[in-house]
Amino acid sequence: MDNTLPPLDNVRIPTVMSDDFKNRVRVRLYQLFLEFGRCPCKAELAADLGCSAPDIAEAYHELAAAHALVLQPASGEVLMANPLSAVPTPFAVETQGPTGQRTWYGNCIWDALGVIAMLNSDGSVLASCGCCGESITVGVHNGEVSSHPPGVVHFALPARRWWDDIVFN
């Protein structure tokens, strides 16, 4: 039997994570996402906030439990910081920023339009028909939406089932 205690550096002392810290993690995640043009990893966010990657992981899990984030199942990195997707999806969003055109990904057509709303910007969603794959470009200009060709949006699941399988939804 090995009675050797682990080195202190490897011991995680349980703490009560403050709502303020979780909110700092959440807000800084979005800010770095926009700054980098991609989702930061836990280590990058930890370095930015001057804390440890396990602290970020713990905050992520609590934010995910509160449905404020969706995490990748194996790595625990962010999958969705809604409306933004951390991974490419069939809903590419192009917006015009101070440094030129930026491309983002939404988790669905609702979220793709949400990216444009969140950025308070004009923009375009490069999508395709869920049935036949025909290209559909949705534009938002001065708060007015249009598409070419015309399109309609289908919500397959009722609201009460949205979080049963958020990745499918």
Partner: protein
């Protein structure tokens, strides 16, 4: 939530996936929903809406059927 070229394409997709038809929104209504839902998401004072607040938001956009209720 997917976009389709027409209602007929939604029907074909539902049939292919053996799914019941859900609800269809115009792009204009979807944009209004996206704007109301996400415009404040990056703000430090953002918090999740309560169920009642969410129902009120849906109601304000004319989304009043049981489909849009969490309980």
């Amino acid at each position: 939530m997917l976009i389709f070229r027409s209602e007929d394409h939604i029907d074909r997709w539902c049939k292919a996936w053996r799914l019941e038809r859900g609800e269809t929104l115009s792009l204009e209504r979807t944009w209004q929903l996206a704007d109301a839902w996400y415009r404040d998401r990056m703000r430090a004072d953002w918090r999740r809406r309560t169920v009642d607040e969410t129902h009120e938001l849906f109601r304000s956009l004319g989304l009043t059927t049981d489909f849009w209720r969490f309980s």
